[in-house]
Assembly symmetry: C2
Homo-oligomer: 243 residues x 2
């Protein structure tokens, strides 16, 4: 099974200035591709912490995605940290420098703009149809931007590279059941459908439903059978809908 | 300096079913109380992973907050995992059992409901005015529910216990500046205001501003001086507003 982890480099998340927005689309994308996202770490914009986290994550997962810290300012330290984690130097990519200069159509380009051409030595510049700017990839680490629109655009471009031949599928059953009232039933279903991961989630003050039960797996038939079994066992008045 | 970490126990986050909502209010609350949130980990609903993560986080931070996995169903494994992390047994709290039975006004109470009375042996039941249900606290670990409304209610109840005498303050300056165009200026300001943490964040396709610059610190005067210095140095046409 292919596994993944994400390292969110973000003082702005840790100080509550912004709601983190990149994990959800990454998680959905990986799920649909059949890659198991096992771990997310949010760390501060500090090189030594990033190096330590990245080295732990990349040795334990098939893919690691970083988010944030790739701009031109003093608080953007992801590239030097990734380079340090791999024991590589930071070098200026001639290819990226040419692209930046092209973007400015001959107007002067400052050192600050050229910081955006810096990459860990030997890193791959992965170009895809979705974005003009390539993604820095080194070994199993994908360096993605923190700006949510840019993150999502680049993520789409990685789809073919990450796809496995056994995507996950998920079904959900929305109920008016009290969670404790169906706990024993769910325990039984989990035992009877061992290839399906069953989760239950309470929603407060929702006019539509009280408890949502999810069924995840790689075998669509097995997932459907488990959801069918819940629907068959529920008191009909407690079933809201399935999806 | 008081530090904190959060452990988000959530298959639903790692599979992209829900947008995580508890880190942002926790981060804002800790920031305003002067506690430095240093790290967030999102892990799956698996006891061995939770034990390992919790032990790493609690030994390195003054406070650790867990979110999720505290319901009555088979996928709720936080209490046994927290107990295992501390080498404690799981016991049924007589106090919680009485509260649950009281809630049902003499109607029969099943084993599934009584699972909600289970706590790590010796854990504190912290009662506050904000919520009828106590918060399980063991040493420096606060066990909070994943349901966002419940998480936030319990968080408010912890405020007095967590408060420090040096809260963080933050100011923000919104600009029309290109981030690279002010990078050198921000580097200089960061050097001239060493007690202030300066961050810069690009917003795509926002009609109001292009780059937001934030100033964080414990000394309100120092924070204000750093923000003043940016405003004074910016071309007036690039200044949108400050807050």
């Amino acid at each position: 099974m292919r596994t993944a982890a994400a390292l969110i480099i973000g003082n702005e998340v840790l100080t509550g200035k912004v709601q983190e927005e990149n994990v959800a689309p990454l998680a959905r994308e990986l799920f649909s591709l059949g890659v198991s996202l096992r771990r997310v770490v949010v760390c501060p914009d500090e090189i030594d912490v990033i190096v330590s986290d990245l080295n732990a994550l990349r040795s334990g997962h098939d893919h690691v995605f970083t988010s944030g810290g790739v701009g031109p300012t003093h608080d953007d330290v992801t590239i030097p940290a990734v380079a340090a984690a791999f024991g590589r130097a930071v070098v200026r990519s001639a290819e990226l420098e040419a692209q930046i200069r092209g973007y400015f159509h001959g107007r002067p380009v400052g050192e600050e703009h050229l910081r955006m051409a810096e990459i860990p030595e030997g890193a791959e510049l992965l170009r895809t149809a979705e974005v003009p700017w390539p993604t820095v990839v080194i070994d199993n680490v994908y360096v993605l931007p923190g700006v949510p629109q840019a993150f999502r655009m680049k993520l789409v471009g990685l789809r073919e590279r990450l796809r496995t031949d056994s995507p996950f599928v998920s079904e959900a059953v929305y109920t008016l059941s009290d969670e404790a009232g169906i706990a024993a039933l769910l325990t039984r279903l989990a035992a009877e459908h061992p290839s399906v991961l069953i989760g239950s989630y309470v929603k407060w003050r929702d006019p539509e439903y009280k408890t949502k039960v999810t069924f995840d797996g790689r075998d669509p038939d097995a997932v459907k059978r488990a959801a069918d079994a819940l629907v068959a066992a529920l008191p009909p008045a407690e079933l809201v809908r399935r999806s």
